[in-house]
């Protein structure tokens, strides 16, 4: 397949994943802000915007953090190149670029996602309508994923698609964890406080992990470190860093097998996977969760760059 097409597939799935995770984070923020009100709600929105890395663009436009303004900015503001609508558009453009590599089912799912969300996001979203919009974003992303699973041949194209998904998901999970931890738990002394429990609850919500968390509680680990362990190291949880890397590693091995040789991304992957599997949650807390996450995000980026380089995405 063409390098350009591999690039388009990879990014199509990155953008879709990012759009979905952005919607999840927004949903969690909305819940938190609702239960808190006033300045605390503003703080919550600041934290959401910060997690998404949109703070500079947001502050250039707005003086304070409020629910309606933050939601509009995240979902559909043309001044925000990272808004959900822009990501869905990017995903669709990449799908058009790789139209000859995806099935009609996948193309139509992406195209319908774009049409549906374009319709929902032409005007500012009213608060009463927000949960419907967020539901639609998740649903459309699920449709594309389902079409991909159900109709695509398990060849190089599929593996580039999955690689894009898991590179992005790992990055997003790490960022969500980092900002929440970084902002709200400057020292281990706060672990176990009431505020802390609320914040972890919002992380679980953002990662659709509440059900998984109940399972973990059954296993007798209801504290912050138990939750962190679930989200970072539990290979059974599909948004955990460990799960993302198990899958990504399989995709990259499959790509190496198809191309008849291992390359730079495979060795970086192996290194990162080994590191992750040899780390315990206590090691992470001892060393500092923030430091761990910063390292992770940067090595994740290095893997993504190596994939682009190894498979001639742009040159």
């Amino acid at each position: 397949m063409l390098g350009k097409t591999a690039n388009a597939i990879f990014w199509m799935f990155r953008y879709l994943e990012r759009a979905e995770n952005t919607a999840r984070l927004l949903e969690a923020g909305f819940r938190m802000a609702l239960t808190r009100g006033g300045d605390a709600a503003g703080e919550e929105w600041r934290s959401v915007i910060n997690t998404l890395g949109m703070d500079e663009a947001y502050e250039a436009k707005h003086e304070s953090y409020s629910g309606p303004e933050a939601c509009d900015f995240i979902l559909r503001d043309r001044d925000n190149p990272e808004c959900v609508m822009a990501m869905v558009e990017n995903a669709r453009n990449n799908a058009r670029l790789s139209r000859t590599s995806i099935t009609t089912e996948v193309w139509e799912a992406v195209n319908e996602a774009w049409m549906t969300l374009k319709g929902l996001l032409t005007r500012q979203v009213r608060e009463a309508n927000l949960s419907h919009v967020l539901y639609s974003i998740r649903r459309e992303a699920t449709q594309v994923r389902g079409a991909t699973y159900g109709s695509m041949l398990r060849n190089d194209i599929f593996h580039f698609a999955r690689a894009g998904t898991f590179v992005e998901r790992a990055d997003n999970t790490a960022r969500i964890l980092d900002v929440k931890y970084h902002l709200l738990l400057p020292s281990l002394a706060h672990v176990g406080s009431r505020l802390d429990a609320g914040q972890w609850e919002s992380i679980l919500r953002a990662l659709s992990a509440r059900r998984a968390h109940r399972e973990v509680i059954h296993a007798g680990k209801p504290d912050a470190s138990g939750i962190a362990e679930l989200l970072i190291l539990d290979p059974r949880f599909p948004r955990s860093l460990a799960y993302c890397y198990d899958t990504l590693s399989e995709n990259l091995s499959a790509l190496a097998a198809i191309h008849g040789q291992e390359s730079q991304c495979n060795s970086l992957m192996r290194e990162a996977e080994t590191k992750l599997s040899e780390t315990s949650i206590d090691d992470i807390f001892d060393r500092g969760l923030h430091e761990f996450l910063v390292d992770f995000i940067s090595s994740n980026r290095a893997i993504a760059n190596a994939i682009a380089e190894d498979y001639r995405f742009t040159h």
Partner: protein, 476 residues
């Protein structure tokens, strides 16, 4: 029915209102349909096109809106007999076109014989001196041709235009049929319509048969597109997808070891046949427009050395110029030794003083077209133009007469379209798609029917309010 429409040939109904044989089964079916269901179907069709993303971009539209070409769900039906006759005429014409282009770039026998003026070559921007003396692989110049036909009576089909560069619209021929089958499966169970769905396979076969000498193994085909912002990008992707070919842009290609190669995830791979949807001018910045970023530096040298087939061949545009069109009856006769089976529309070349005088005297009855124009732009339709428009046009015409040809305003045939008030006649034309390879000329039964959706309008171009119809050739 308006008075004007009554004087036209209607393809579905006789003048007395009874139905013509080709449409009788359709008519029976249509009468059994509930009108409100049909109105719903009309909406459904639009949804199907939107979902499939069969849209085109409008140049210069900053909002980057994607538009649909309106689809009319009443099929345009041609009997097997009519089609067989048409096919012979089309094949003859396409054979002549290829021989003509070959001759122009070689001995120019037609010029020597005095039947074709040399000045038309010298003045023509589509003429490529770089092609002189070169013969493309398989001796094929026009791998894909679209012949635009109009009809004025039961047996009167005429050629309005030859599209020998990169005829577009074939994806609509295919998608219109898919849409019809999805919406009205029962219709196809009862009526034997010849299939068009194998066009991409035929195209792939035809292109592969024109592979260059450098090919080793099964020919590798790629479609070259200017990119996703091109108005016909959907079609480029569609054809590549259906053929199982790669869809490439200039930036994916590079000349390596005397071959044009595409950058794949496993390194550079040679391409044998390039179905390009990029104009000659942009093909190779080293040979043509140096500012082009859409092409491949050095591809033309590879081409001349037998390393790649470019379809259609560079320089074929010489044959679809409107001034040259007027010579087609002579051209057909010169190369085939036969009388043309399909006539031209009578055409006045304004470059000739007698013709110019006639055209100027009769502007209000004529259609005047720019020689190099396309898409229905820059033309005058005398009968519907205002006095002021005619005066302004006459001035342009006098200033540069060689830029124009004129034709009578034809009584174009009509075919019914579906409207809220029921069936209503509208003017149509037809573009069949013809494939040329050393194995012969291959004509897919059907084509693109364009329809002027505005009552009384003669302009079928999609850029000016035209729509399309599924075109049936009956298997009878």
């Amino acid at each position: 029915m308006s008075k004007k429409a009554e004087s036209n040939f209607d393809e579905m109904y006789y003048a007395d209102g009874s139905v013509r044989p080709a449409y009788s089964q359709y008519q029976d079916w249509f009468e059994k349909q509930d009108p409100s269901d049909m109105r719903l179907k009309d909406k459904e069709a639009e949804g199907l096109f939107r979902r499939a993303g069969i849209t085109f971009n409008v140049y210069g539209d900053t909002a980057a809106e994607e538009r649909l070409i309106p689809f009319d769900m009443v099929p345009r039906i041609i009997s097997g007999n009519e089609w067989r006759k048409l096919s012979r005429g089309i094949e003859q014409r396409v054979r002549a076109l290829n021989a003509f282009i070959h001759d122009l770039y070689h001995r120019q026998e037609i010029v020597r014989s005095g039947r074709f003026p040399e000045r038309l070559l010298r003045q023509n921007e589509a003429w490529l001196p770089q092609m002189v003396g070169f013969t493309p692989p398989g001796h094929v110049y026009t791998h894909i041709v679209g012949i635009d036909l109009v009809r004025t009576g039961p047996d009167e089909f005429m050629v309005l235009e030859d599209n020998a560069r990169t005829p577009s619209g074939v994806s609509y021929m295919l998608e219109n049929r898919e849409t019809m089958i999805a919406m009205f499966p029962d219709l196809f169970a009862g009526i034997n319509v010849q299939k068009v769905s194998d066009y991409p396979a035929r195209l792939a076969r035809s292109l592969a048969a024109c592979a260059p000498p450098a090919t080793t193994g099964k020919p590798v085909i790629a479609v070259l597109t200017p990119g996703i912002y091109n108005s016909a990008y959907f079609e480029h992707a569609f054809l590549a997808d259906q053929m199982g070919a790669e869809l490439v842009e200039g930036a994916d290609l590079r000349v390596v070891e005397g071959r044009v190669q595409m950058r794949t995830t496993a390194g550079f791979k040679p391409i044998d046949v390039l179905y390009r949807r990029v104009d000659d001018e942009y093909l190779d910045p080293l040979t043509f427009n140096p500012d082009s970023v859409l092409g491949v530096p050095g591809i033309f040298d590879v081409y001349l050395a037998g390393g790649i087939t470019i379809a259609n061949a560079p320089g074929t545009g010489i044959a679809d110029d409107k001034a040259i069109y007027s010579f087609m009856p002579d051209i057909v006769e010169f190369y085939t030794g036969e009388k043309p089976l399909l006539p031209n529309v009578p055409t006045w070349r304004c470059a000739e003083p007698d013709s110019l005088a006639y055209v100027l005297d009769n502007l209000e009855e004529l259609v005047v077209k720019e020689v190099h124009g396309s898409g229905g732009y820059g033309m005058l339709i005398g009968p519907t133009a205002s006095k002021k428009d005619i005066k302004a046009f006459a001035k342009k015409l006098r200033a540069k007469p060689e830029n124009y040809i004129a034709q009578p305003t034809l009584a174009l045939s009509t075919c019914p379209v579906f409207t809220k008030a029921g069936l209503a006649p509208r003017h149509v034309d037809l573009r069949p798609y013809v494939l040329v390879s050393p194995n012969g000329i291959d004509l897919t039964p059907g084509g693109l029917t364009r329809v002027a959706l505005k009552k009384g309008s003669l302009v079928v171009n999609s850029s000016q309010g035209g729509g399309t119809k599924d075109t049936w050739v009956l298997d009878d």
